[in-house]
């Protein structure tokens, strides 16, 4: 009866013999079957009634897979809903239509509200003991939105004809399908079963499939083959390419196949809502998918809501538009600063403003660039006492009071208390405002000379002026820096703010020109042992505290610099242990990584837990009042399943 759910972070993830990773409770399915037998003819969805009676669309029972995914409403504290209605929300630019895929959160396997991984599009998934063999079971009778069957062929097409095609993917399959240099061995076992295996365990596979931006290792082969050189007459294909003014068939194929960006309204999909508006536009309409695979406990096909509508608007107007009652559900673009205004319009507009927790480890953090080119700065920034002193001289309580009504929490840039990896010292080390101690530390470093303005002098005689670069997107960052600059003056450090554009800052940081920058804190505040610790070890070029080390790792040593700080080397060792280890070893590795980060202050966290306002119309049901607003894991509304939201009108 109960589905066997293996929490992503429970011990023995890979040790259980023939671990059936939640063969979504056959019992639950049979129960659903009984219910649906009890009331054999499910009421047809009103939106499709016409089409069904005209014979253009088969009835609901035939559209669903043999064993649809039954959402456990009791566990998720939801009520059975009614069909119909539109859900309007606002996005900042048309590129954000990808949020439809994020919010919908239909994944091969996905997180539930308690961050356990459970099969979703897949009926089940088997992982062997060693964690190097993954067998995926597709739901029988599952169909693409155009009614064509969804089968192992769609996985094969992705593996053989897309990522292993030199013209489409010149660099080969995505990284998570590799262990070391070894690509996956892909097998089709039968029409509904495929297997990915490696000689070594692959810890990235499952979390990647469940990611907010999923890799889509299945593609609608029956549709895409018409744009693929292996399946189409070269002359015909060439004619289409010429007509569209493109450079090659590969570009055409990529254009037609954007599962995340949703530009192509003809492309079949497995999402709950299908895009029906072509770019460019300022209003995008998504219409329900008649072949969606999820049902409520009564066997009613989801989603409840017929259409999802994204209006595109300038970000600055969004709070005003929300306050004027132009949306049904909105969290994007809103920030805590809009809270009082929105709260004011609550009574007239028939909506409620909830405050959700966020998944960011920190709302903002300073990133000293340990791989900057200036030798004097580099030496200074790499001195842990210097970084600690800078952190101690930040008055986080003041920032909290001045900017966030005291609703936020002073914190370091680390995991949140809700994460199973949390320890209080991660959050609290070196964040207490202590000018005296900070001054003492800087004296100890040897920065004892000062100029006439009381600013300390660097070893080569330059005044200690830190230029903090910003992405120029978030005015709150500038305000924080203003406050930090005041308190840093007390330790003889001068702060300058330099506003740049995201691309420019990235490039400057990569090349080592940036000394320090400010940006959002870690995304993975809710990390579990299965989460890749990418933000805490030097393996990514876009980690602003060590871009060159990250580049070194990402390019297999062809570019960048090898980490040469002992602590960084240690981090890399622990990362190696995380990659190879079992669940217990992973937790240990994670803990070690976090210990080192907390001790070394590689990034200086400022403030955290800044609540996210979420505006919900009063008669929109099944939207939780309290939730976690997080990109990864969580997909913002995704894990709360917008396909179960409904209108009580």
């Amino acid at each position: 009866m109960n589905p066997i759910n293996v929490p992503a972070f429970s011990a023995g993830w890979f040790n259980r013999s023939r671990n059936k990773l939640a063969r979504t409770g056959l019992g639950a399915m049979m129960l659903a079957g009984i219910i649906s037998l009890g009331s054999p003819a499910q009421a047809e969805i009103p939106y499709f009634k016409d089409a069904v009676s005209k014979g253009e669309l088969p009835p609901m029972a035939e559209r669903l897979p043999e064993h649809p995914k039954v959402i456990d409403f009791t566990a998720e504290n939801k009520e059975i809903g009614k069909y119909g209605g539109d859900l309007v929300t606002i996005m900042g630019r048309s590129r954000d239509i990808r949020m439809a895929v994020v919010y919908a959160y239909a994944r091969l396997i996905g997180y539930d509200e308690d961050l356990n991984l459970k099969p979703d599009i897949l009926e089940s998934l088997d992982v062997n003991d060693a964690g190097n063999e993954f067998t995926l079971h597709i739901r029988k009778g599952h169909k693409w939105s155009d009614g064509e069957p969804f089968t192992a062929e769609d996985f094969r097409y992705f593996w053989e004809d897309i990522v292993n095609n030199d013209e489409l993917f010149p660099v080969g399959p995505p990284r998570f399908l590799f262990v070391g240099d070894e690509p996956a061995t892909f097998e089709v076992l039968d029409e509904y079963t495929v297997r990915y295996s490696w000689s070594q365990p692959n810890p990235f596979f499952l979390t990647e499939l469940a990611a907010t931006r999923p890799p889509f290792i299945y593609r609608p082969a029956h549709y895409l083959k018409q744009f693929h050189e292996n399946y189409r007459d070269a002359a015909e294909l060439d004619a289409i390419v010429k007509e569209r003014g493109l450079r090659s068939w590969a570009v055409l194929h990529t254009d037609k196949d954007r599962p995340y960006r949703l530009e192509n309204i003809e492309r079949p999909s497995l999402e709950p809502w299908l895009i029906r508006t072509e770019e460019p536009s300022d209003r995008f309409i998504f219409e329900r998918n008649p072949y969606y695979h999820r049902v409520d406990p009564d066997g009613n096909q989801l989603p409840y809501i017929d259409r999802m509508i994204f209006n595109i608007s300038n970000a600055k107007l969004v709070p005003a538009k929300v306050g004027a009652g132009e949306v049904d559900l909105q969290s994007r673009i809103l920030s805590l600063q809009d809270y009082t205004f929105l709260k004011q319009s609550e009574p007239q507009q028939n909506f409620k403003v909830n405050l959700w927790d966020v998944g960011y480890g920190a709302y903002a953090a300073l990133y000293p660039n340990l791989t900057c080119s200036d030798p004097v700065w580099r030496k200074l920034l790499r001195d842990v006492r210097f970084r600690r002193a800078l952190s101690l001289a930040i008055n986080r309580t003041e920032i909290n009071r001045v900017m966030f009504f005291g609703l936020a929490t002073p914190t370091n840039n680390t995991v949140l208390p809700k994460s199973p990896l949390f320890k209080p010292e991660y959050r609290e080390s070196y964040i207490k405002f202590d000018v005296k101690k900070a001054n003492a530390l800087l004296d100890e470093v040897g920065l004892t000379k000062r100029n006439d303005d009381g600013i300390r002098l660097m070893p080569d005689g330059r005044p200690l002026e830190v230029i903090v670069e910003t992405m120029g997107e978030n005015p709150e960052h500038d305000d924080m820096l203003e406050l930090i600059g005041d308190s840093w003056k007390q330790i003889g450090v001068k702060l300058f703010v330099k506003g740049l554009q995201r691309e420019v800052l990235r490039n400057r940081a990569y090349s080592g020109e940036t000394v320090m920058s400010i940006f959002n804190g870690v995304d993975s505040g809710l990390a579990t042992p299965a989460t890749v610790p990418a933000e805490f070890v030097p393996i990514q070029q876009d980690s602003l505290q060590w871009p060159k080390w990250g580049q070194y790792f990402q390019t297999n040593g062809e570019a960048g610099e090898a980490p040469d700080l002992p602590a960084a080397k240690e981090l890399m060792e622990l990362y190696g242990k995380w990659v190879k280890g079992n669940d217990a070893a992973r937790k240990e590795a994670w803990q070690g990584i976090l210990d080192i980060n907390a001790e070394n202050m590689f990034s200086i966290g400022l403030i955290g837990n800044v609540p996210q306002p979420v505006v919900v119309r009063n008669d929109l049901r099944n939207v939780p009042e309290k939730g976690i607003h997080s990109w990864e894991p969580g997909a913002f509304f995704g894990i709360y399943r917008p396909d179960t939201f409904w209108w009580d009108r």
Binding site: V171, G245, N314
Partner: protein
């Protein structure tokens, strides 16, 4: 007259050519290109980007060619009505621009019309009743419009339009009408939304217009021939409209060339703030992401408007004021 026309038209060609070169250079000036922006995005997702892929993408987007060749590709396309390809949207620029161009034209034309309709009577009024309360009052109003930051005024107007009339905030029509064909209801919705941006962009242009007309008219009003006309018993209105006004109109018309680009570039900011589906916000986004052909096409469109505006004002001036010589220095 015909040779004058032909010469003016001929001069427009090299002007546009130089503008197009400048536009292209300016777009290329900031570091990086669309691809580096895109690669950053890839890297943010943890994808390792190796040199082979970069070269592949460069080739796909045609960014591996030398700049001058990219320019000629683009310019050659422009001559054939092909505005190039937008990287950001993965569509030909013509398809991306769509309705936006027309809505921009409607907005800018309405604004110019608004400026003329408002400043013409006020200018005449305040010139004929110099130093009166009305003169001061209207002038003050004009200056207020000039002094008030456009974006602030826009936000205030949006707010009150919403509170008082229930107009949806931002945009040029109610959201339901986006992507729909043109209907009476849609036109009405556009009209309902259009007045606010027109007012915002327009007010900043009226003050200078009023002052210019007032000053010119005042110059003329004191002249001998006006006094004579009055003395001969012509009615004040007839005197005014027949002689001094016609003289004073000269700079008013000469301004068309200036006011068009002024309005168009002024409307970019307001369009961004008010989220209007015109070319402005798209131009800004294209410049930010270095979507060079899209940005280039918009800038060329602005340049064309300016050049055409100048041309029109030249024509009108020549027609209005016979004192203007068509041959330039030649006749001396």
């Amino acid at each position: 007259m015909l040779t004058f026309l032909a010469r003016r038209l001929f001069v427009m060609m090299p002007t546009l050519f130089f503008i197009s070169v400048l536009v292209f250079i300016i777009i290329q000036l900031p570091p990086g290109d669309f691809l580096s922006t895109y690669l950053n995005e890839l890297q943010a997702q943890g994808e390792a980007v190796d040199p082979a892929k970069i070269a592949f993408l460069k080739q796909q987007y045609g960014l591996d060619q030398p700049i001058w060749l990219q320019y000629f590709d683009w310019a050659w396309g422009l001559l054939h009505g092909d505005l190039g390809f937008s990287f950001e949207y993965n569509l030909p620029v013509t398809e991306v621009v769509g309705d936006r161009l027309w809505l921009s034209v409607v907005l800018n034309f309405s604004t110019v019309l608004f400026i003329y309709i408002v400043s013409f009577p006020i200018g005449i009024y305040s010139a004929t009743r110099q130093y009166s309360w009305g003169d001061y009052g209207f002038t003050l109003l004009g200056f207020l419009g000039l002094a008030m930051p456009n974006f602030l005024f826009a936000l205030i107007l949006l707010y009150y339009a919403n509170v008082v009339f229930g107009t949806s905030i931002g945009g040029l029509m109610d959201p339901e009408f986006i992507n729909q064909g043109w209907s009476f209801a849609k036109v009405m919705s556009v009209a309902e939304h259009l007045w606010a941006p027109v007012l915002v962009i327009g007010t900043s242009g009226t003050a200078s217009m009023i002052r210019r007309l007032r000053a010119n008219l005042l110059d003329e009003l004191g002249k001998q021939y006006v006094v004579t006309a009055h003395a001969k018993g012509l009615s004040p209105a007839r005197v005014l409209f027949k002689y001094p006004l016609r003289m004073a109109l000269n700079p008013f018309i000469a301004d068309i060339g200036n006011i068009l680009p002024q309005v168009v570039s002024g409307s970019v900011l307001v369009s961004v703030v008010m989220s209007l589906p015109t070319t402005g916000p798209m131009l800004l986004a294209a410049l930010q992401s270095q979507d060079m052909y899209l940005a280039g096409s918009f800038l060329m469109f602005l340049a064309l408007l300016t050049v055409v505006g100048m041309f029109v004002s030249d024509l009108l001036l020549a027609w209005l004021d016979p004192r203007i010589r068509l041959q330039g220095g030649v006749s001396q």
